[in-house]
C-alpha cells in the first residue's frame, strides 16, 4: 500500500523532472548549448502567475506559457544567436550570465522572500482510485507529461519541421546544406523548450503555492543530471532520465534510515556518480557517439 503510494509519488515527480530534462535536452541536442537559464524560464513562469493572481486559472496558465515562450525566444535572439559558433564553455557561461541577470532583475522587482500564489487550488485534494488516494495534482502531472511526450513524439516524427529538427540535432551543417533553416529550427526549439519549462513551473506553483527568485535553480540542476543520465542529445533519454531521478529520489526519501534522510540529495548524487562510472554516455547514447558530445 505504502509502496504503491510511494510509486505514485515517484512517477509523478519523475514526470515533472522528465519535462524539465526534455527542455534542457532539446536545446542541447540541436545547439550543443547547456542552457543554465532554463531554470529562470521556470521562475519567470511562476512570477507571471503571481502577477496575475486572482484571474481565472486558465488565463493565468495560458499567459504564463505565452510569456515564457516569448522570453525563451528573446533569450535565444539576444544572448545565444551571437554566440552560435562559440565554444561549449563560453555558451555555458553565457547561459549562466543570462540566468544570473534574470534572477537579479526579479530579485530587484519582487524582493527575496518567497511569495504565495493561489493556483489550481482545487487540485489540492485527492482522487480515489480503488484503494489508492492519489493527489489530483500528481495525477494531472502524470497525465500531462504522457500527453506531452506523445505530442512531441508525433511532432518529431510527422511534422516537417520536426523531421528537420531531428536532422539538425544529428548533423546541423548537413541539414543546412539541404536547406533546413538554422534560425527557424533553433527558434522552434526554444519555443518548445519554453513551453516545457512553463509546464514545470505551473506544477511547481500549484504544488508549493509559492514563488521565489531562486525557484528554478534546483529544478535545472536536476534536469541536467537527468539529461546526462538519459544521454545528452537523446530526447527519449531525457524523459527516461527524469523518471529515473524521480524514482531514485522518492525511494531514497522513503527507505533511507531516518537520520540519513537529510542527506538524501547527497545519496542521489552519489548514485549519479556511480551511474556515470558505469555508463558515462547515458542510457540511450552509444559509446561511439559520445565523442560528438
Amino acid at each position: 500500500m505504502i509502496f504503491l503510494q510511494n510509486a505514485i509519488d515517484a512517477i509523478s515527480l519523475g514526470a515533472v523532472y522528465a519535462l524539465a530534462a526534455l527542455g534542457i535536452g532539446l536545446i542541447f541536442s540541436i545547439m550543443r548549448l547547456i542552457n543554465f537559464a532554463h531554470g529562470e524560464l521556470i521562475m519567470v513562469g511562476g512570477f507571471v502567475l503571481y502577477g496575475l493572481a486572482g484571474q481565472p486559472y486558465l488565463v493565468m496558465g495560458l499567459a504564463s506559457i505565452l510569456v515564457v515562450a516569448i522570453l525563451a525566444l528573446g533569450m535565444e535572439r539576444i544572448a545565444f544567436r551571437p554566440l552560435r559558433k562559440a565554444s561549449p564553455a563560453t555558451l555555458l557561461i553565457a547561459s549562466f550570465a543570462v540566468s544570473y541577470l534574470l534572477q537579479h532583475v526579479v530579485l530587484m522587482v519582487f524582493g527575496a522572500r518567497p511569495m504565495g500564489v493561489d493556483f489550481l487550488a482545487q487540485f489540492g485534494d485527492s482522487v480515489e482510485l480503488g484503494v489508492l488516494r492519489v493527489p489530483k495534482l500528481q495525477f494531472a502531472a502524470i497525465i500531462v507529461t504522457i500527453v506531452s511526450l506523445v505530442c512531441l513524439a508525433l511532432f518529431f516524427r510527422r511534422s516537417r519541421i520536426g523531421v528537420e529538427m531531428r536532422a539538425a540535432a544529428e548533423d546541423f551543417t548537413m541539414a543546412r546544406l539541404l536547406g533546413v533553416r538554422a534560425n527557424r529550427v533553433i527558434a522552434v526549439a526554444f519555443v518548445i523548450s519554453g513551453v516545457l519549462a512553463s509546464m514545470v513551473s505551473l506544477y511547481l506553483v500549484a504544488q508549493t503555492g509559492s514563488v521565489s527568485y531562486k525557484m528554478g535553480v534546483n529544478m535545472v540542476l536536476i534536469a541536467f543530471v537527468a539529461s546526462v543520465i538519459g544521454g545528452m542529445g537523446s530526447l527519449t533519454g531525457a524523459a527516461l532520465g527524469g523518471f529515473l531521478v524521480g524514482i531514485v529520489s522518492v525511494s531514497l526519501q522513503a527507505y533511507l534510515p531516518v537520520d540519513l534522510r537529510p542527506y538524501r540529495d547527497a545519496f542521489v548524487f552519489l548514485a549519479f556518480i556511480a551511474f556515470l562510472l558505469w555508463r558515462p554516455q547515458g542510457l540511450m547514447t552509444r559509446r561511439a557517439d559520445m565523442e560528438r558530445v
Partner: protein, 342 residues
C-alpha cells in the same frame, strides 16, 4: 625551443606579480572599504588560479572546486576556532575540540586534507570522457554542499560557523595569490603540465604519443584542489565565518565566469577575469551607494550591481568568445630578432 617557452612563462608570471604588488601598494592608500574589496579580489584570484590549473590546462570543466574551497575553510575553522566556542557550537571528538593551531599550521592541514579528498574523489573519475567528468565534479559539489549543510556536529549545519580568527589582511591575501601564481607557473612548465596541455588540444593525439591523460588530469585536479583550498582558507579567515550556502552554485559560476571571461587558456586570462569582474562589481557597488552630484545623490536601486555585471559579461563574451585574453600571456614586447629561416 623549450627554453624560449620557459622564459615567456616566467616573464609573464613576473609581470603579473609586479602588477599584483602594485595594486596592493595602491590599495594601502585607499579607504578601508576599497582595501577590503582588493583583499577579496586577491582571495578570488587564488581560487581562480587554482581553477585554471585544472580547467585551463586540461580543457575540462570542473564544477566542484568550490567544494574544495569549503573543505579548506571548514578544516581550518575546526582547527583555529577557540576550544570554548567549538564546545558550544559543534560536537567534535575531544582531541579536535581542544586543538587550536596557528594559522600556518591550519593552512597546511587544510590543504592536505583537501588534496587527499581530491585524490580519492578524482582517482575513479578521471577515466570519464566528454560531459561525464564535468557532471561528476558537479555531483561532488552537491555532495559536499549537502554534507556541509547537514553535518551539524562538524560544520555547524545551516547556521554560520563563527569565531574564526580574521587574519587575512591585504598582504596575506596577496601572499596567497602570489603563491598560487608561482605554483601554477611552475606546474605549467613541468612535463606534467605540458603533457596535459597536449591532451587539451587532442586527447587522441596525446594518448598516441604515450601521454597518460588520466594520470595527468588526476595530478592537475589534486594540485588545483589544494590551491583552491588555500583560497577557501583565506576566505574563511577573511570573513571570520563559514556558511554552507556560500559554497554552492553562485560562487561556482562566478569563479568559472571570471576564468572564462578573462580567457581560460592562460594565467593572464585568469588574472584579467578576476580583475574585470572585481572592478565592474566595485564600480556598480559604489554607484549603488550613490554618486553625489552637487547637492543631490544619484542612487541606483539595489541589485543593479549584479544586473550590470551580468550584462557586461554577456557583452564581453559576445565580442570576444575566447575571453578577453584569448591565448595570450602577458610579456614584454618581443625584440625583433633576425629570422632563422622559414
Amino acid at each position: 625551443m623549450m627554453g624560449h617557452t620557459d622564459n615567456r612563462s616566467w616573464q609573464s608570471a613576473a609581470l603579473l606579480l609586479a602588477v599584483m604588488v602594485a595594486v596592493a601598494l595602491l590599495a594601502t592608500l585607499a579607504p578601508p572599504a576599497l582595501q577590503r574589496t582588493v583583499t577579496e579580489a586577491f582571495i578570488k584570484l587564488t581560487v581562480v588560479i587554482g581553477l585554471y590549473v585544472f580547467v585551463g590546462n586540461s580543457g575540462v570543466f570542473s564544477f566542484g572546486h568550490v567544494g574544495f574551497m569549503a573543505i579548506g575553510g571548514y578544516v581550518s575553522a575546526i582547527l583555529t576556532i577557540l576550544p570554548a566556542k567549538k564546545e558550544v557550537a559543534l560536537d567534535l571528538p575531544v582531541f579536535l575540540e581542544t586543538l587550536q593551531l596557528p594559522g600556518l599550521a591550519a593552512l597546511i592541514v587544510a590543504v592536505l586534507v583537501a588534496a587527499i579528498v581530491a585524490f580519492l574523489v578524482a582517482a575513479p573519475l578521471v577515466r570519464l570522457r566528454g560531459i561525464a567528468l564535468p557532471m561528476a565534479t558537479f555531483a561532488v559539489l552537491v555532495i559536499v554542499h549537502v554534507v556541509a549543510l547537514n553535518w551539524q556536529s562538524v560544520t555547524g549545519g545551516r547556521q554560520a560557523l563563527v569565531g574564526l580568527p580574521r587574519f587575512t589582511s591585504l598582504w596575506v591575501a596577496l601572499a596567497g595569490a602570489a603563491a598560487a601564481l608561482i605554483v601554477a607557473t611552475i606546474y605549467q612548465q613541468t612535463r606534467h603540465g605540458l603533457a596535459l596541455r597536449c591532451s587539451r588540444e587532442s586527447e587522441v593525439a596525446a594518448a598516441a604519443t604515450g601521454i597518460d591523460v588520466e594520470r595527468e588530469r588526476l595530478i592537475a585536479f589534486v594540485l588545483s584542489a589544494a590551491i583552491v583550498a588555500m583560497g577557501g582558507f583565506l576566505f574563511a579567515h577573511f570573513l571570520g565565518t563559514m556558511t554552507a550556502n556560500t559554497f554552492f552554485i553562485d560562487l561556482t559560476f562566478v569563479t568559472l565566469t571570471m576564468l572564462v571571461v578573462g580567457g581560460m587558456r592562460s594565467l593572464t586570462g585568469a588574472c584579467a577575469g578576476v580583475a574585470l569582474v572585481s572592478i565592474v562589481s566595485e564600480l556598480f557597488r559604489s554607484i549603488e551607494r550613490g554618486i553625489p552630484v552637487g547637492d543631490h545623490v544619484i542612487e541606483a536601486p539595489p541589485g543593479l550591481q549584479e544586473i550590470a555585471l551580468a550584462v557586461i559579461l554577456l557583452a564581453i563574451l559576445i565580442m570576444r568568445p575566447n575571453g578577453l585574453m584569448g591565448d595570450w600571456e602577458l610579456a614584454w614586447p618581443a625584440r625583433k630578432k633576425a629570422k632563422e629561416g622559414a
